[in-house]
Every structure is written in C-alpha cells, then in structure tokens.
Amino acid sequence: MDILHWITSHPYQTAGLILPIAIPLILFQVLPLLVLLERRGAAFIQDRVGPSRAYIPLPGLRIRAFGMLYNATDLIKLLFKENFVPPFAYKSFYWLAPAIPVATGLLTPALLPWFSPILYQDGAGVSSLTGTLITTSSGLLLLFALGSLSVYGVVLGSWSSNSKFSLLGGMRASAMMISYEVSMGLSVLGLLLIVGSFNLTDIVEWQGHHTWGMFVQPIGFLLFLVSMFAECNRNPFDVAEGESEIVGGFHTEYAGVKFMMFMTGEYLHVLVASALLATLYAGGYELLPFPVPMLADTSGFVPFLTTVFRPESYLSLDTLWVKAHLGGVVAIMLGITAVLVFVFATLIAGRRRNYAQQDAQDRDMRLREYGIYCSAFTGLGVMLLLGAIACGLFMTTQPLVAAGTLSPQPIYPGWVNAVTAVLQFHIVIGKTLAFAWLFIWVRWTLPRFRYDQIMGLGWKVMLNIALVNLLITAIVAKAIGGGR
C-alpha cells in the first residue's frame, strides 16, 4: 500500500520511472508498421497486388488485415529456421555481429525528445520531466557516436563470415558509411551553429520558437537527408547487397534469427534516421511550422541567433500555445484523423464494389471481409469525430499556477501535461513515418548507384557543398548575430 500511495502522490516521478522501460520499446512498436508500409508501398509503386496471401481462417471468412499478418509469418519462419553456422566462420564475431545494429538502434530512442519538458510543482519549487531519457548537452554527438558504432555490425559480420561475397559487401558498405559520416556531420553543423546547442531538446525548442530547421537550413537538410540514406544502406545507396554482383552482401552467410536481427537493425536505422530528420529539421514534437499565434507575446522570446542559451525548464512558444488551446488543438487533430479514416473507408468500399462485380471464386468471402473493414473504419471515424467534438466543446485548460509566480511560465495540471505529451508523441511518430515513407518511396523509385558514383558524390560533391554551406552560415550568423 505504501508503494501505491507513493505512486498516486508522485505521478511525475512514477512516469520518470516507467518511461525508461517504455521509450526503448517505442521503435519496436513502430517497426511492424514500417515493414507493412514498405510492402504495401512497394506494391503500390510497382502496380502489384501486394501482400495478400496470409490470413486468419475463420468460418466463412478470411481476415488478411492488409498484409499485417506477414510480420507474424516472417517471425515464425525465421525463429524456427535451422540455426546454421558456416563451418568456416569465425565463430565469436559471427555471433556478436548481428547484435550490434539492434543494440545501437534500441539505444538511440533514449536520446530523442518525444515530448516537450513538463513543468510541475515539486513542493515549493518547480521540477521538470524531460522528454528524453538521457538529458545531456552533447546529445546529438552521442547519437552520432552510436551511429558510428553500428558500422561494426556490418564489418564484423562480413569479416567473420569468411566468404568473398560477404567481405566485398561489408567493405563496400563500411567504406560508404564512413565516407558519408563526414558529410553527415558537416551538414548538420550549420543548424547547430544557429541553434547554439547540441542538446536535442534545445534544438526542438528553438524550432518551436522560430521555425523548422528545414526552412532555416534547406541545403543542410538536403545533404543530411542524402547522408541518412547512405548511413541506412538504403537504395539508391544499397551497394552492400547487390544481388547481381555479391549476392546478399555482408549477410550472405546469415540465416534464421541472426539474419532477422540484421534486418531488424536495418529497419530500426531507417526509423532512427527518420526520427532524427523529424527532430532536427521538421520541428520534432512541435505542431506548427511557424508559431505565429504566440508571436504577440514576446515576454519569453529567444533571439534568433544565440550562444548563451535560455535557462532550464523553458518551454517553446509552440508548446505553450498547444497547452493553452489544448481542447481546440486536440479537436482539430482528431478531426483530421477522422477525415483520413473516412477517406480510407471509402477506398475500401470502392475496392469492395470492384470485388462485387468480379466473378471470383472466393467472392463472398472477400465481400464479407471487406464489409468488416468498412464498418470497422467507419465506426472508428465516427468515434474519432465524436471525440473531436467533445474535446472542442468541453476541454478547457486553466494553468494550475499562473506564469510569473513559481516560474516564468505557467504550470498546468497533470492531465493537460499528459494529453499534451501524448499528442506531441503522436506528432513525432507521424513526422517519423512521413520521412520513413520518403525512404520507401525513394527505394522503389530510383535505381542503384554504381560504387564509384557513390564515392564521387560523397567526397567530391556533398562534402564541398556542406563546407561552403557551413562557411556561408557562419559568415551570415556572425554578420547578423554578432556576439562572441
């Protein structure tokens, strides 16, 4: 009972204890969605039917869940495959290598801000619960350090497999990743120069005060995007695994669960790269690209260029605006989601009408299945719409402690903080999935580069553009901002 009492009287501390377990699992929750998105996106771009065979058999009905079941079938297949280790492999590193990309991919969410810092009254003072697990002033550097460690998975896996194809693929991949790390670091420096901090929460808060990074540093954004494609070994930079030349590349000799871990690492890196792009250049958890509504209130305004950063526990204008108008914001977001769900239900209904006209063997079964989807999504849309109306009418927020008494900014009650955190978390995930869709789109659209083209692009083009971009940014920042 003591524990229960402590939990109810210390909600923020309890959240601080739960989040370290929950946040590393976030990416695992989004992973199946990304795999599904990749499968359906590939089918959509290539004008195929896509994943449609796996189903749950019910009497008179087959639930295929849009190909979601393929995740389960993949998992079952890979888990029960023979755990084959080539006799010529260097055993210790052969076993170690697949774990490295997964480990680094699971560590990175701890550094990304998933919601804005929450201010709460702690006794007589004010404490804050940050949206990152590891709050350090060198957060971005640590992220890059973890990214550079993940290359060891490729290197050790390819070397220990003791096969020509693996070694060639591993050499290609690691040389490319090392090369593009240079332009990745240099392209992000322009943004860091303007923001004046390596702390990812600070970078996002700065964007909430002014504008998203992609509008401040468009060239840096494009360079970083291309470098991220290379870092993830994604098409058009997927020379690590050229089927026509080197079979599967560095994971040629891998099968079963170890292969699955390499693939998990790859998709985790796509998610991490998308989340990083969203955090650095698309405002992270901030809702609006330009926080116009609060510009009238300049009391807590941070200068555009600064090296002396604001004090701790300082919320951006965007977050404050969201908290002050939480009901309306939630209503609009739920309304947009409801509209999207209705559009999806209409698409499903159109597909169902197509099936009704065809004379297929399993016509009745498909009609029943699509009827269930139709009614389920319509019901979801109606519920979302009702929720939106309810939020818009009844959700009003009042600060618990007005601004200027305990802290320069207002302190809101717990439920407002919780709703805001959930909303901001969904904003981050939405932006991440949007960038992940860009990755998928590019992968199924562009052909693979030749290896010398990749190296030429990395060293002769992107590095130079990044350096010039950094130089111009530094000159402009010095001319406008002055300072030290």
């Binding site: 010529f88 260097y90 002033s137 550079s148 460690l149 290359v151 390819s158 050499m171």
Partner: protein, 193 residues
C-alpha cells in the same frame, strides 16, 4: 532517497566499467589474433568513456566513443579486414619487444599509484562538471592575451593533420601512377580455421 540511489548506482557503474576495462585490457595483452586485439581495445575505450562520463566529463566520454572507438578503431579494423594475410596470421603473445614495452606502462602505473596514495581525497568534488561542452569551449577558445592559447595549438594540430592527409594522398598517388605496378596477388585460400 534518490541521492543515495544515485550514489549506489554510480559506484555500481564504476565497478562495472572498471572491471570491463581491466578484462578487455587483459584480453588485448593475451590475444593472438589482430582482430581480437582490436575488438578488446574498443572494449577498453568504451568502458573508459563510461568512466569519463561518471567523473563529470560526459563530453569527453562521447568524444572518446565518437573519435576513438567509432572512427580510429574503425579504420584499424577495416585495414585488418582488408589485409588478407591477417585472417589466419597469429602472432606470438610475447616476444623480445614486449619486455621493453612493459617498462613504460609499469612506470606509469607506479607514478599513478604513488600520486593516488598521497592524494587528499577530501579535496576532490565528484559532482563537479569538468569535461562538458561549455567549459571545454571556454577553455579552448579563450582568445584573451592572458589566456592559455590552446586555440593556437588546436589550429596547428589541424594544419598538421591536413599536411599528413596531403602527404598520404601524394604517396598513394605515386604508387598508383608507377607503370610497373605489380599485379594484385591472387585471392588467398579462404582458409579453414
């Protein structure tokens, strides 16, 4: 409650990192295969970076991972991987050079032990932040005439590295341009361990 918990966790982490670095260091000394040695060295660097972070220098720890474990050791592993010979080439653990090489670490260890034995532990503030970005930047780029002038050394080292890169490119290019470049040796047998 939380203060003592932090204290306990800090001690636990320190013990963990110290043991890991000692184990990896021992493995580095005893390993016969170059790539084993390289991986043990990475282990030493990673655990040292953890100790740096515990000692109030997270920035130094991150830089240790980013530069040493992530970049320099990456190149070392890469070279070992490319050298086909290294695959089955095992060197003896100790030879004549090891005796000379052992003198300096032992001397260094003796000096450290002597310093620590006579140090006044009460003057050390474990909570002080030393190697964080702001203090490092303020010390390094202190442009005042009375300052330490580290920025000059920083620039000089940068120029030195640039010269080294240019020299390496020149050497590699000369090798490429020579007409009588020997044909690449045939791919060695993909050996069975």
């Amino acid at each position: 409650m939380f203060h003592s918990l932090d204290h306990l966790l800090g001690s636990a982490y320190f013990t963990l990192f110290a043991l890991a670095s000692l184990l990896c260091g021992g493995g580095l000394l005893l390993s016969k295969h170059p790539i084993n040695g390289a991986i043990y060295l990475i282990g030493v660097m990673l655990s040292l970076s953890g100790i740096y972070a515990l000692l109030g220098s997270p920035f130094l720890g991150v830089i240790q991972v980013l530069v040493y474990a992530g970049a320099i050791m990456m190149l070392v592993v890469f070279v070992i991987m490319v050298l086909n010979q290294a695959r089955d080439h095992r060197v003896p653990r100790f030879d004549g050079f090891s005796i000379v090489g052992a003198i300096f670490p032992i001397a260094l260890a003796a000096m450290v032990v002597k310093t620590l034995a006579f140090a006044d532990a009460s003057t050390i503030d474990p909570a002080a932040v030393r190697g964080e970005i702001a203090p490092v930047a303020a010390t390094m780029f202190d442009l005042t005439p009375a300052g330490p002038g580290y920025y000059l050394l920083f620039e000089l080292i940068g120029v030195l590295l640039l010269v080294a890169v240019v020299a390496a490119v020149m050497l590699a290019k000369r090798h490429l341009d020579s007409p009588a470049a020997p044909a690449a040796p045939a791919e060695g047998d993909h050996a069975q361990h």
